[in-house]
């Protein structure tokens, strides 16, 4: 028998086999554990995770009143008992040096560091009143992504996959992409399956080399050889099944088939040369500044098209205790154009209605200065600030061109419509058709959920 004939007969065999007990086994790998609790608006989520804490007063929350207070401590009444990671509570105010402009019909004010997003501001809902409980990076990141500052809880993507399964036959349902030069401080904690089965874990794509580990055949081993070996493995497994009568473990073949299809499909997914020059340019692929985050955004759209449920893009880091002007400008340069292009591209393809895009970090930054050096004012930075910061959401289920929440005149605390990160999580699940109070998993005698025992859907930002 030639190799091609052999492969053909194997396919027939697989077809027969998949029609029997195998079909349900294959199915259970891909289909969700549950259906949505109610009709979903969004099928997929792209979370643009801005690791380290971007500065809300320099990006999204203009505070002209700060100019009057520049170089003075905040009024005592405002500071309260706030704790910071590094600075003293009496640190001096540093008014933002950015200019804010209204662009678009909705008139959302956005900093001049984000010209591309400003042009698409009619597509987003900006929330200026997000709060978290955590003042340090690792617990803050776990709080945002897993709903608890303690390690060991499942991440949002894992919950989404647990709730809905994936629609992709050839790719993992929860994928994580990195940019900016380093991994997030909470590392694998932001995409862990926690106590959920490990099938719900995020699959990190690497930023260089093989994007998925062990996706390439061993050197000198071609695809036909791999196919033949998988066929041999299937024969071995089939014989084992016949001898032992154990149907259940035969479903393990399904994972080899997915692996094999991933070997085939992932390179196609990653081959951005198939995109038009205009698309590639819009994401900034032809500039070294925007190429990395741009590729990740474009990959995210291509994954959405292929049915991937949750795509987490981590861009690290915005943690600018010093040199904020220079480094924030750089991060904005790297991320602004691609993020805006992603929104526009999804809109043009009719995918924005079924894709939820979220932008945000684990906290914001203080309106006060850190690292004051009078001879070198450009080295100033800001400290961590979980007491009021900004995030934006767009697409599936979210209102367009809206601002929600208000901070006080200093951008220090929330003045109106406080939104806790648990509320953000509840809202994301809501857009996916999941009730955050019903999406539970029993572990060690307790029903756990993403939002712990809190959180409520922010109805005001829904479409």
């Amino acid at each position: 028998m030639t190799r091609i004939q052999a492969a053909h007969s194997r396919r027939q065999f697989l077809a027969r086999w998949a029609g029997g007990f195998g079909a349900s086994a294959l199915g259970s790998l891909f289909a969700g554990q549950q259906k949505p609790h109610f009709p979903a608006k969004a099928k997929s989520v792209i979370f643009l995770f801005m690791e380290g804490g971007p500065s809300q007063v320099d990006l999204f929350d203009p505070k002209p009143a700060l100019v009057k207070w520049n170089d003075q401590p905040l009024p005592d009444s405002l500071r309260g008992n706030a704790r910071f990671a590094f600075i003293q509570p009496n640190a001096k105010v540093w008014a933002s040096e950015r200019t804010f402009r209204r662009q678009g019909a909705s008139g959302i004010e956005v900093s001049d560091w984000l010209p591309h997003l400003a042009a698409k501001s009619d597509l987003i809902t900006l929330v200026r009143s997000v709060v978290s409980d955590q003042v340090n990076h690792v617990p803050g990141q776990l709080m945002l992504q897993c709903g608890s500052p303690l390690a060991g809880r499942p991440s949002m993507g894992a919950w989404a996959l647990y709730g809905l399964g994936t629609e992709s036959q050839d790719l993992p349902g929860f994928v994580v992409l990195f940019s900016g030069g380093r991994a997030p401080q909470a590392s694998g904690g932001i995409y862990t399956n926690g106590f959920l089965p490990s099938a719900y874990q995020g699959t990190p794509f690497r930023s260089s080399g093989d994007p998925v580990l062990h996706l390439s055949n061993a050197p000198g081993f071609d695809r036909a050889a791999q196919r033949q070996r998988i066929d041999l493995i299937r024969d071995l497994n089939e014989q084992h099944r016949l001898r032992t009568g154990d149907a259940e473990i035969a479903s393990r073949v399904a994972s080899y088939e997915l692996a094999f299809r991933m070997q085939a499909e992932a390179p196609a997914l990653l081959d951005l040369s198939k995109e038009t020059a205009a698309t590639r340019a819009s994401y900034g692929l032809d500039s070294p500044d925007t190429r990395q985050f741009g590729s990740n955004c474009l990959l995210a759209r291509r994954m959405v098209e292929r049915g991937v449920r949750f795509i987490l893009l981590s861009h690290a880091s915005w943690d600018d205790h010093a040199d904020l002007e220079k480094n924030h400008a750089r991060n904005c340069l790297m991320t602004d154009q691609p993020a805006a292009a992603l929104l526009e591209d999804l809109r043009q393809r009719g995918l924005l209605d079924s894709t939820l895009v979220v932008w945000g970090g684990e906290f914001g930054r203080t309106p006060m200065v850190q690292h004051e050096n009078p001879t070198r004012p450009e080295t100033r930075g800001r400290d961590h600030h979980p007491y009021a910061f900004s995030m934006w959401l767009a697409g599936g289920g979210i209102a367009r061109g809206r601002v929600h929440g208000k901070t006080d005149d200093f951008g220090f605390g929330v003045a109106e419509d406080k939104v806790h990160v648990h509320d953000v999580q509840a809202t994301i699940l809501h857009c996916l058709g999941l009730d955050h109070e019903k999406l539970t998993f029993r572990f060690q005698g307790r029903d756990f959920r993403l939002t712990d025992v809190e959180g409520s859907v922010v109805k005001q930002i829904l479409a």
Binding site: Q185, A218, N237, R252, A259
Partner: protein, 877 residues
């Protein structure tokens, strides 16, 4: 006076009719739903619902019956789920039961004396186990020992028939993996088949139990419970450099069959019993290093220890009572803080009060010895610094000389890496230093990872390279000038290019291996003399004194209840004591030191209802995949009830009465027929007992991560069977936070058994995590056994499995001349059985179809890898 009144009210006003109603419809509800938590002993929320007096007294927060307006009694609001308090917490009562209690309250809530429902407060796991009657069977044919009688009794009732006996080779593979975590070798297979004695299996079990491999497998089971790892995890993940001593202690304890009561005692209070290393059980938990609230950080450690002791040893979760009375089990915050008092009176850190990030290491030898060693190490470090300073000076001098032509170096480097020219001639032509040109090639050549401050450079072209190089040099010079100008020495603001060019890894720096050769004559002399002193100092160094990560007795703490877990809101002072519900002989206050030794003794005392049950259940689970209680760390109300309660108690009683010997439990369990059944399931089994709760067949299981790695190393004999010791030096692995450098160790870099790999909590080896290794963050009760595509990719394509397959294939090719015999050898090694004729035929067909030819290493390597990737290898039946 008050009690007299109550007495009259209770006894005097109950008519025969209401009495009957109470006994029929009210008392059973209280008994079943309320009294486990609300009784005279436990009194959750201060409320006792077992007597008239208790009802009349009400809860800590006030009366529960409103005599003036019975309809609005708090008891009724609670059971009606109307207010903040909703009782019982496990779910609202049926309407019928609520109506009954409502009408009883309206009629005066009279509580007839006496008639307490026997055992009302007794949840099964809180009652000490008693030896049950062994069931009598109609048919004893199948039975080998009492375990079989208990199981068979349940089959007779459910009308299922047990699976047939497993084949001998299946049994050999099962028990060898089970007891040692390794596959049987082909020789062991032949030996076992040849042993015709009726005691063959028992002999095999004895041989395996006596092997040091046994402790490596079963010690690891316990390390799952002990959430063992070699670092603090949480935020900064500092190393526990001496953790391995605890790991080795555990392995050794299993190998020498240390009685479990002593094993527990030593792990809780080994500092008092001469086995301080054992207290690593308490000391090696995850710890927050950078928490700013020092008191909270300390009580987080205490909490973590309460959790591992309560869930790991007692099978009860007590930690939730840190903030509120337990919602489901009768454990109050008082109970929690009584235990917290014990661990808070324990020395946990080197200096808990001022520096909670400094870990505590106990010298195992004399303290003086440890101090001498540390002082000597400091001297060595100082001298090493001096040597480094000489090199630094050399480097700076060289850099100063070369720097003025920086732009030329950059251009030259570009020609080398971008145009493919050779470094020597390019340097020669331009009058540059060739070594420095190569340094710049290494620095400037793009390699995968993006470096932001070189982005501009990486976009360079033939026409821009000159200008750009000059720009970079100018930028450098401007920064240098500015820094000279300013008096402030330290800049946080960072010009990365400047730092790189100026730093120790500068492109101008002398490569490590040329540092000595290129030093100036004076520097050479200086270095020689410093080196000689260093060698001298190193030779004179006392050996590293043994240290352990352990706990010790601390200052006795007067513990108060922290309301809602907040140490700023202090409540009543509590004694050091055990939880009320488990206190069989009252609740004596522990007075000796921290109370840990008394706690340990209580844990293994005859009256303790949980310790023995929990451990025999774990032993059962590690043999059968599932415990008799399928929530092995939760024997409380939210846990699962035992599938075979009598068998569990039978085993628990045997365990404690026969001296807590774990190996004796193995012998008992392995000599049952239950262990020797086939794993194949029949249609009848699938229908009547799909989850195999009746254990009428042996459950098959996927190999654990360690078993997969160790087996792959064993096939060609590469596995290094050295026992114990540290694989990393004390000083290794203390890298900067949040880098992948936190990997404890690359598993592929050693051939030691997996149990000996150092484990970094924040970065467990990927290949282990892929096959569901425990996360080591909290005590683990069971490993998940997943089946995902990345595992398939790993087995098909990873360098480790590919290398292992090739090495095994190489051994087959050189050791076995005939192809069919090779297939046979491969089956016996990987699957533990000989192949059948049609299997040989098919497999040789695969090998013959290989383009490289039937005797090629490629063909056999690929074939071996297919066997390794198949179900028959990765599952034990």
């Amino acid at each position: 006076m008050r009690s007299i009144l109550i007495g009259i009210w209770a006894a005097g006003t109950v008519s025969a009719q209401t009495g009957e109603f109470f006994e029929r419809s009210v008392r059973p509800v209280f008994a079943e739903q309320c009294q486990t938590c609300h009784n005279a002993k436990v009194r959750m929320g201060g409320l006792d619902l077992t007597s008239a007096e208790g009802v009349a007294k009400g809860a800590a927060s006030g009366a529960v019956i409103d005599r003036a307006d019975p309809g609005s009694s708090r008891l009724l609001r609670a059971i009606g789920y109307d207010g903040a308090i909703k009782m019982p917490p496990s779910g609202k009562l049926s309407d019928e039961r609520i109506r009954a209690i409502r009408s009883w309250v309206r009629d005066g809530a009279a509580w007839p004396a006496g008639g307490a429902v026997p055992g009302a407060t007794a949840f099964w796991s809180f009652v000490p186990p008693k030896a049950p009657v062994v069931p009598k069977l109609r048919n004893e044919r199948w039975v080998r020992n009492d375990i079989d009688r208990f199981l068979a009794a349940s089959w007779e009732a459910a009308r299922v028939t047990p699976a047939a006996a497993a084949g001998r080779l299946t049994l050999l593979r099962r028990v060898t993996f089970d007891l040692t975590g390794l596959p049987p070798t082909p020789e062991q297979g032949s030996e076992f088949l040849a042993d015709q004695s009726p005691q063959a299996f028992e002999n095999l079990v004895e041989r395996l139990l006596a092997s040091p491999r046994y402790g490596e497998r079963w010690g690891r089971h316990w390390l799952d419970v002990a959430r063992y790892a070699d670092s603090t995890g949480a935020d900064e993940d500092h190393r526990y450099p001496h953790a391995w001593r605890y790991r080795d202690y555990v392995i050794d304890a299993f190998n020498r069959d240390l009685p479990y009561d002593r094993f527990v005692t030593e792990q809780i209070a080994g500092d008092r019993t001469g086995s301080i290393v054992a207290t690593g059980f308490l000391a090696l938990g995850p710890k927050l290093i950078a928490e700013r609230d020092k008191v909270k950080a300390f009580y987080d450690i205490v909490d973590e220890q309460i959790d591992v002791v309560s869930r790991g040893i007692l099978g009860l979760s007590i930690s939730c009572a840190r903030c509120h009375d337990h919602k489901f089990d009768p454990v109050s915050t008082r109970d929690y803080y009584s235990l917290a008092a014990i661990f808070a009176s324990t020395k946990q850190l080197a200096d808990a009060e001022s520096n909670p990030s400094k870990l505590y290491f106990t010298p195992l030898g004399p303290a003086e010895e440890a101090r001498r060693y540390q002082e000597h190490q400091a001297k060595i470090a100082a001298l090493e610094k001096e040597i480094e300073a000489v090199y630094t000076k050399q480097r700076q001098r060289r850099a100063e000389k070369l720097r003025p032509r920086m732009a030329d170096y950059m251009q030259a480097a570009w020609r080398v890496y971008a145009k493919g020219e050779k470094a020597e001639p390019v340097a020669g032509e331009a009058g540059l230093d060739a070594i420095a040109v190569q340094g710049w090639v290494r620095y400037l050549k793009p390699h995968g990872e993006r470096i932001a401050h070189l982005d501009r450079w990486h976009a360079v072209t033939e026409s821009t390279v000159g200008v750009l190089a000059a720009e970079y040099q100018e930028d450098y010079q401007r920064e240098a000038a500015e820094r000279r100008k300013s008096t402030a020495r330290k800049y946080v603001g960072d010009n990365r290019f400047f730092t790189d060019v100026n730093g120790a890894a500068s492109p101008f720096a002398i490569p490590e291996k040329l540092r000595d050769a290129m030093a100036s004559p004076e520097a050479k002399q200086e270095l020689a003399s410093l080196r000689a002193s260093l060698d001298e100092l190193r030779r004179a160094s006392p050996p590293e004194p043994p240290l352990a990560c352990a706990v010790a007795e601390g200052k006795q703490v007067r513990q108060q209840v922290f309301r809602r877990g907040d140490h700023n809101q202090r409540g009543d002072t509590v004694p050091r004591a055990v939880p009320a519900i488990l206190a069989v002989d009252g609740q004596p206050e522990f007075r000796e030191g921290s109370g840990r030794l008394e706690l340990a003794r209580w844990l293994v005392s005859p009256g303790n209802p949980l310790t023995a049950r929990v451990m025999v259940n774990r032993i059962w689970q590690w043999h059968f995949g599932e415990g008799l209680v399928r929530t092995p760390s939760n024997f409380g109300k939210t846990g699962e009830a035992p599938t075979h309660p009598e068998l569990l108690d039978y085993l628990a009683v045997r365990f404690s009465e026969s001296g807590w010997s774990i190996k004796a439990m193995h012998r008992l369990i392995l000599s049952s027929n239950a262990y020797r059944m086939r794993s194949a399931s029949s249609a009848a089994h699938e229908e009547r007992d799909p989850e195999n709760r009746l254990l009428a067949r042996f459950p098959r299981r996927r190999l654990d991560a360690e078993e997969i790695r160790d087996a792959l190393l064993s096939f060609d004999g590469a596995l290094d069977l050295t026992v114990g010791g540290a694989l990393q030096k004390m000083t290794e692995g203390n890298e900067k936070p949040f880098t992948n450098g936190r990997l404890g160790m690359d598993p592929d870099s050693t051939r030691r058994r997996t149990v000996y790999l150092p484990l970094r909590r924040s970065n467990l080896p990927g290949a282990l995590a892929l096959f569901d290794f425990v996360d080591s963050v909290t005590t683990a009760e069971v490993r998940s056994r997943t089946n995902v595509a990345p595992q398939a990719l790993y087995l098909m394509n990873s360098p480790f499995v590919t290398e292992r397959s090739a090495s095994f294939a190489g051994k087959l090719l050189s050791g076995v001349p005939m192809p069919a015999a090779r297939v046979e050898r491969a089956y016996r090694t990987v699957f533990g059985r000989p192949p059948q004729a049609d299997e040989i035929e098919r497999d040789l067909h695969y090998i013959h179809g290989f383009p490289a030819g039937p005797n090629s290493l490629e063909a056999w390597a690929s074939y071996c890898q297919a066997l390794i990737a198949s179900n028959e290898f990765i599952y034990v039946r």
